[in-house]
């Protein structure tokens, strides 16, 4: 069969005698290497470890295999909000609408957790230190209505939105975070205040959080409009 089509399609280079099928061998070899990378990549990632991560953060470039944050923004720039003028609005179906400043958040019951930041596309940063206030605590302070079922989150960039159900919001590993690795959350990471939803993919952890609306209907957020799951549960990740 292969010989037949060869006759029809003409001769190979005259000097190749006997021909060595190097082209397809090289391609198959490279594809095999890529396959190993896909299957074993998570382990290779761990093995490459901190050295590569250090270089990577020094040159501000996520080198392949390094555990480094990638900075996403969905608008043409990103909000830079001084901590001194920051306010988080909590409104909608609440008995006490709130305007929480950084000092207010810092005087509430504080919570800390250490957990990986996992992006839906595959990259992750292990062992990120987060600090802030439990989302459930914020809702309690605002007096969320018992008939409310959902939350809408708004970003200061004016475009990024997210959602959770009230039931999900009761989880103890969801923070309204104002500190990361012991320092104020930077603008690049979504500061002064961002959401951190540990059991879900990174896109649920909205950046530049400036308003939480308590409502009775889940409205899918920005990334859900691009086909990502409304319930962004992380599956299959051991930690």
């Amino acid at each position: 069969m292969a010989e037949d089509s060869e006759q029809v399609l003409g001769p190979p280079d005259a000097e190749v005698e006997p021909p060595v099928h190097m082209g397809r061998r090289a391609m198959l070899g490279l594809l095999g290497l890529a396959g190993v990378g896909i299957v074993a990549g998570a382990r290779i990632d761990n093995a490459l470890g901190s050295g590569l991560t250090a270089i990577s953060s020094a040159i501000n470039l996520p080198l392949p295999g390094a555990d480094q944050f990638r900075y996403y923004t969905v608008t043409g720039s990103y909000p830079v909000i001084p901590a001194s003028s920051y306010e988080l609005a909590v409104d909608g179906m609440v008995s006490h609408p709130l305007k929480l400043r950084i000092a207010d958040l810092r005087s509430m019951k504080r919570a800390r957790l250490v957990h990986r930041f996992q992006c839906v596309t595959g990259w992750y940063v292990p062992g990120v230190h987060w600090e802030g206030v439990h989302l459930s605590e914020v809702l309690r302070a605002a007096g969320a209505s018992p008939t409310a079922t959902a939350l809408r989150f708004f970003s200061a960039d004016g475009v990024y939105t997210e959602s959770l159900t009230i039931a999900q919001a009761q989880l103890s590993d969801i923070l309204v975070a104002d500190k990361m690795f012991g320092k104020d959350v930077t603008s690049e990471h979504g500061g002064p205040v961002r959401l951190y939803v540990a059991p879900m993919y990174g896109y649920k952890s909205i950046k530049w959080l400036n308003r939480i609306e308590v409502t009775d209907k889940v409205v899918p957020g920005y990334w859900e409009g691009y086909g990502y799951s409304v319930d962004g549960w992380i599956d299959g990740v051991a930690e």
Binding site: E15, I38, P64, G65, G122
Partner: protein, 238 residues
């Protein structure tokens, strides 16, 4: 042939090698050029959008991640389209033939990696060892980028460890493909004959004599076969 200045070029031609004929050689047919340039446009789109998604300074400075991601994903899904369209129809003949040339390596191709002094005198075919290496690498890299990209974008949540591996490979491919494409463009721009032939489809006989002697011999053999309409059959029998 006499040009406007009245100089007769015929005597010069008579000094040329006995087997050489006038006129350029057809190097790339229109299907190959169409496949090349449409793939080039898609590849450029992928490199630019990929850089915006991947490099922190561009990811933050240009942003619009949803839009850029969509352009990148759609371009990626289209990347192999021109090549596949090129090899499925009756127009595929020369493209498939040249892909087969990429696959087959002879002594002249391995010579390409040696220093000039250590090369044998074996004439080269239509493509040299460097071009064949580039073709094999980019072919594999495009397929690997497509597979890893599809995993990153469409794999179910339970595949997240594979998505991590796919991200590692996809990131590495960003650098590897970037270097390969930059090298390809640099080689093309420094070799005007070959660069122009990807527009015109044609290349001079003297280029072929210097760089692809075995290919020239092959073309001239088929020209000789086709140019004898009287009784070509004995010639073919030999």
């Amino acid at each position: 042939m006499i040009n406007a200045a009245g100089r007769n070029r015929a005597p010069r031609r008579s000094t040329a090698h006995a087997s050489s004929r006038g006129g350029d050689l057809a190097r790339f047919d229109s299907v190959e050029r169409l496949v090349h340039w449409s793939t080039a446009i898609v590849m450029l789109t992928l490199i630019v959008t990929g850089a915006i998604l991947y490099l922190p300074v561009l990811a933050l400075g240009i942003g619009h991640r949803g839009l850029i991601e969509n352009i990148h994903v759609i371009s990626g899904l289209c990347l192999l389209g021109p090549l596949l369209l090129g090899i499925v129809g009756p127009w595929r003949r020369q493209l498939v033939n040249d892909l087969r040339r990429f696959d087959r390596w002879g002594a002249a191709d391995f010579d390409w990696f040696k220093t000039r002094a250590r090369r044998s005198e074996v004439p080269r075919g239509k493509f040299n060892g460097g071009q064949k290496t580039e073709a094999a690498f980019l072919g594999a890299a495009m397929v690997a980028a497509l597979v890893t990209g599809v995993i990153m974008r469409y794999a179910p949540a339970s595949w997240v460890t594979w998505a991590t591996g796919a991200t590692l490979v996809h990131d590495a491919l960003f650098f590897a493909i970037g270097i390969a494409v930059l090298g390809h463009v640099a080689f093309a721009l420094s070799r005007p004959d070959q660069f122009v032939s990807m527009f015109s489809g044609r290349i001079s006989r003297s280029w072929a004599r210097d760089h692809a002697g075995a290919w020239l011999a092959e073309v001239e053999a088929s020209e000789a076969g086709a140019a004898d309409p009287g009784d070509g059959s004995p010639r073919r029998m030999q």
